[in-house]
């Protein structure tokens, strides 16, 4: 199939992008890497009046190091994480995650901002950045605002983002040098979306522990009780709570789906403690 006709404009700067979106009166849409939007346009699942291309916005391609934080421009590509061309706030987690998304050709184009804005529940970045406790920087006609990712994901494919707003950057606290992580993606073949994702982070220095169960129906689920048990009582205690925590958080899952999510989370925990 071929996309239905649309207009195209390349924004020269952020202000122009915001203005173009506004002029589109609800029918304008941003395109970044085009790796989700492109197929949807071609399948005519999405129609747009005007495509606003932000690929050339250099301001969205920077990485800023702050006090214990890192701020990634929304246009950083998956492959830039994979290749270590940007500093890794997750002590190697982001490199691992970026390299496991899709295929190289998709990673060369697909962007962090596009992935988070698209908010596909099965995508990798929303789970990884939920675990890292990310905050999104957003620019719109009314100015700037920030939005915690965990609260900003309203449902499948729904980020709390207005039609004329642009996700410009993603800010995360840096993990301490001794922090450890586990990432387990279960998918049917290399390059496919996940059937289940488990993420576990333990930063004893900062007293931060988070466990995430991803690739579920809606936004990734933070398993707080599991994290608390892990931090306070250690690996076995945390691990043992996973089945009940997953069952409670995701009651609609069938037995196979539930089992996969439990295994993904448990394997992520095992990785934290060095299997």
């Amino acid at each position: 199939m071929k996309a239905a006709a649309f207009d195209y404009a390349r924004a020269g700067d952020l202000a122009e992008a915001v203005r173009l979106l506004g002029e589109g009166e609800g029918s304008a849409k941003l395109i970044a890497g085009g790796q989700s939007l492109g197929p949807m346009l071609n399948l005519r699942l999405v129609r747009v009046g005007l495509l606003v291309d932000i690929r050339r916005l250099e301001a969205l391609r920077t990485v800023e190091e702050g006090e214990g934080t890192l701020r990634y421009g929304a246009l950083i590509t998956h492959s830039e994480f994979e290749d270590g061309r940007v500093p890794d706030a997750g002590n190697g987690l982001l490199r691992q995650v970026g390299g496991g998304i899709a295929y190289r050709a998709v990673r060369n184009r697909g962007t962090l901002g596009g992935s988070l804005a698209h908010a596909d529940p099965a995508a990798d970045w929303i789970s990884a950045f939920t675990a890292l406790d990310a905050t999104l920087q957003i620019e719109g006609p009314a100015g700037r605002r920030s939005l915690p990712l965990a609260g900003g994901l309203l449902g499948a494919f729904t980020l709390d983002l207005g039609e004329t707003e642009i996700l410009t950057a993603v800010e995360v606290p840096r993990l301490g040098a001794g922090a450890r992580w586990g990432w387990h993606k279960i998918n049917r073949k290399t390059g496919e979306f996940a059937d289940a994702i488990g993420v576990a982070l333990l930063d004893e220095e900062r007293g931060f522990c988070r466990v995430v169960c991803g690739a579920v129906e809606g936004p990734p689920v933070v398993l707080a009780a599991v994290a608390e048990a892990l931090r306070a009582e250690g690996r076995q205690a945390g691990r043992a709570l996973v089945p009940a925590a997953v069952a409670e958080a995701l009651p609609a899952l069938d037995p196979v789906g539930r089992h996969l999510h439990v295994v993904a989370v448990q394997r992520a925990i095992d990785q934290v403690f060095g299997r």
Binding site: M1, K2, A3, A4, A5, P39, L43, R44, I186, R188, K189, T190, G191, E192, F193, D195, P243, A244, A247, P255, V256, R258, H259, L260, V262, V263, Q266
Partner: protein, 792 residues
């Protein structure tokens, strides 16, 4: 298997690099989508959104009515009808565009034309349909039951055909030590040639001909079928297929889109094109593979198979394809289920069932991936029942080499080879004892190791009698080729079969080179174009190398005689004294270039006496094997897998192929066929399926839902050849195009079952997706069919 001297030159047996690869690797191939023509209009189809409905009305795109076509607009166009001479066969009429009923999601209902595909799709969207939905027929077993909704009401049931092979089972059933009963199911699949279907048709006023550049495996058959549907004389239709990017059977059939595009070009005398996209292929293209088996096997206490009682149901979809009919698949299933095994009591009933799914067409291996899966799992089940090593039980059941040629229980004539030897070599190559040791030790990561084997025969190039017995409208006879020496001593080979990626441009040149000793670089091969080549039923059934190869061999041999007659004059010797060597012609003490002969005949006939052979330097001969019931290629595949019992994921750790396709024209191409086929077989075993919901909606509309194995899912195949020439074919060649795809489901699922046998799990349905496998493991753990306890 005899020791042969190392072949030289570019003849048979040499690993010549494929001639066609240069243009493909440089992106210079020309496929339907690459063609350009002034005034070309692109066609998009409005397709049925529902599986089963009565079509009550339609509306054309407002303002663009003249560019939208429904069936009533296609004056004179006949539906696709494939008749069968089999008794009881019910004929379906497949209209180019739906008439009064919609019978599957994706069925063509209207065609819209515009300068670009996107605009044509806009028009298709702007057309409207009115319909009343009917309950859909999806599951083939349910479709067989009385009271099922009917796909074709006038039939009274949903059966295209029911067949029955009767054999004496009952006496053995009463006394056999072991009885194994199983049901097997194989998923519906799409074939996914890298290039989808497509065609460009235009009217050539000078030749007063409709010219059709269609992506097909069977150009001459398409000409016959298309001309009949269009009501044109066949001489006024030329099929000139461009490069074809894979076929696998999908491009063996006449498609409704082909009829519509051809009708438009014929009627409006301007070029039209349709290029299938991946979504159309997934949803609307002809499907394959959906079988269901009920098998009861009887064996003695050692696991010797004594009798087999089977019921095979094939879900053949809404309409019969042309030319293969809706019944070739089931006919092959019933005939091939006994496999390479030596037993004499067989009973089998087959059902070809209509449903509200796209039509069904044979896919690489035809029914054999299904039957091989069924019989190979049954052999392993017998082995487990008698508590023996499955490979050994298999070896004892195979037709022994000493029995060749062997007529099996369904009268298949196994011409040559040593089936148990292929299995023994596979056992050695995979190192069965080492795998068993590793399996017993257990893996550090908790995965379970298993090993499985699968031995099969591939009836290749089966000919006239076999196809006639299937009753289909197209029965292959003699295959012909033309071989011509050009004035400068080059060669042109022309054959009506088409090249679809299988390397025929190279292998046919090698056969000519073998006889004429002229190197393949100087041999051009023209294939497929009906204006330039002799009639051929085309590329299917692993027949290209045997049939077209045989025809080239015969024609080149005839041409060699003609060349020798002329050369004898020039060399002043007897024709019998003339021989070819290394691209030169020798006779007496002198030698000539082929160019000397070419020049003498074409340009300087004054050098030749009157009365020299008037046929000149061109020969067209036909070929058919001495016994044309098929040259049986065979192979054993062996797989070692690791199963993750917590995720259901299967990794193939090792994969061995021991194959015997008779004389190999080009071992490199044979290996390519084995690897590519095996990759598709791995898809069948582990990944590929086209699921439908109860309303008949396909749940697979992109390659994100329909998984094909990629490089990272495929093992490094290890292959070993045996080479038993067929006693019946030219040069002892057997076909090899399909075999790779046949064995993997059997070998892999046997390996999986070997891995998980300690868990009380046995898989009988493919693909073995992680979800299916894990579901069974969890059910076995919790002791319930579907429930489970939370994981630890």
């Amino acid at each position: 298997m005899s020791e042969k001297p190392e072949p030289s030159g570019t003849g048979i047996g040499v690993r010549v690099r494929r001639k066609e690869d240069r243009r493909h690797l440089q992106g210079r191939g020309r496929f339907v989508a690459d063609l350009a023509m002034p005034g070309l209009l692109e066609v998009a189809f409005l397709r049925s959104p529902v599986a089963h409905a009565r079509l009550t009305g339609w509306r054309k795109a407002p303002g663009a009515e003249a560019r939208c076509f429904f069936l009533e607009d296609l004056e004179g166009l006949q539906p696709i009808v494939a008749r069968s001479s089999l008794k009881g066969y019910k004929v379906s009429e497949w209209p180019a565009l739906a008439r009064d009923k919609l019978r599957y999601v994706g069925e063509c209902v209207a065609a819209c034309v515009a300068p670009t595909r996107a605009e044509a799709e806009d028009l298709a969207e702007a057309c409207g349909l009115d319909y009343e939905e009917l309950p859909a027929v999806i599951d083939p077993l349910a479709a067989r039951r009385a009271g099922s909704p009917l796909v074709h009401e006038s039939w009274g049931d949903n059966l295209f055909l029911e067949t029955f092979v009767d054999g004496d089972i009952d006496a053995i059933a009463r006394t056999a030590a072991v009885k194994v009963e199983r049901e097997y199911a194989t998923a519906r699949q799409c074939m996914h040639p890298m290039e989808g279907k497509g065609l460009l048709a235009w009217w050539d006023d000078r030749a007063d001909q409709l010219v059709v550049h269609t992506s097909t495996q069977v150009p001459h058959v398409i000409r016959t079928g298309l001309a009949e549907c269009l009501g044109l004389e066949q001489r006024r239709v030329r099929i000139a297929p461009p490069d074809v990017g894979g076929g696998f059977g999908y491009k063996c059939i006449l498609q409704p889109e082909e009829l519509v595009v051809a009708w438009l070009a014929m009627t409006y005398r301007r070029p039209f094109r349709w290029v299938e996209d991946r979504r159309e292929h997934l949803v609307a293209g002809a499907n394959a593979r959906e079988h269901h088996y009920k098998v009861t096997a009887y064996a003695d206490a050692r696991g010797r198979l004594l009798a087999l009682d089977a019921e095979v149901t094939v879900n053949v979809g809404a309409y019969s394809v042309y030319p293969f009919t809706a019944c070739l698949e089931a006919a092959q299933a019933g005939g091939n289920l006994p496999g390479p095994y030596d037993f004499r009591n067989y009973r089998c009933r087959t059902y070809s069932v209509a449903s509200n799914k796209p039509p069904f067409t044979p896919y690489r291996g035809v029914a054999r991936p299904g039957v091989c899966f069924a019989i190979e799992l049954t052999i392993d089940a017998i082995a487990r029942a008698v508590g023996r090593e499955p490979a050994e039980v298999r070896a004892e059941n195979l037709v022994p080499g000493s029995a060749m040629p062997y007529d099996n229980v369904t009268n298949k004539h196994y011409d040559s080879g040593d089936y148990p030897e292929s299995l023994r070599r596979a056992m050695a190559r995979i190192d069965l004892p080492a795998v068993r040791t590793r399996q017993a030790q257990g893996e550090p990561d908790g995965r379970l190791i298993g090993v499985g084997f699968s031995t099969f025969t591939e009836q290749s190039a089966h000919g006239t009698k076999v196809f006639a017995s299937w009753g289909i409208p197209m029965v292959p006879g003699y295959e012909q080729a033309t071989v011509r020496l050009t004035p400068e001593g080059g060669v042109e080979v022309r054959a009506g079969i088409h090249t679809i990626g299988q390397g025929l441009e190279t292998t046919l040149a090698q056969v000519a080179s073998e006889i004429l000793t002229i190197p393949v670089e100087r041999i051009g091969v023209v294939l497929g174009d009906t204006a330039e080549t002799p009639y051929s039923t085309g590329a299917y059934a692993s027949r290209g190398a045997v049939m077209a190869g045989g025809a080239v061999s015969r024609s080149a041999t005839a041409l060699a005689g003609q060349i020798k007659a002329i050369a004898a004059h020039l060399l002043q010797c007897e024709p019998a004294e003339v021989s070819f060597e290394g691209g030169r012609i020798r006779g007496g003490n002198a030698s000539l270039d082929f160019a000397d002969v070419g020049r003498a005949w074409y340009l300087n006939p004054e050098q030749l006496p009157d009365g020299v052979d008037a046929r000149g330097l061109e020969a067209t001969e036909g070929f058919k094997p001495k016994v044309d019931s098929g040259a049986f290629t065979y192979a054993t595949h062996a797989a070692v897998v690791a199963v993750d019992p917590e995720t259901g994921k299967v990794e193939i750790l090792d994969y061995v192929v021991i194959e015997d396709c008779g004389t190999m024209i080009n071992p490199m191409i044979v290996e390519g066929q084995a690897f590519g086929g095996s990759a598709q077989g791995i898809g069948t075993a582990l990944f590929e399926e086209s699921p439908y919901d109860a309303a008949g909606q396909p749940l697979h509309s992109t390659l994100a839902d329909y998984l094909l194995p990629g490089p990272s899912e495929l093992p490094s195949f290890r292959i070993e050849h045996m080479e038993t020439p067929s006693p019946y074919t030219a040069h002892g060649i057997k076909g090899v195009g399909e075999g790779g795809a046949i064995a993997p489901p059997g070998a892999i699922v046997n390996a999986i079952n070997d891995a998980v046998k300690g868990l009380g799990v046995e898989m009988t349905e493919i693909p073995v997706s992680p979800r299916r496998l894990l579901g069974k493991i969890l059910a076995a753990r919790s002791g319930t069919p579907s429930g489970l306890e939370a994981a630890e």
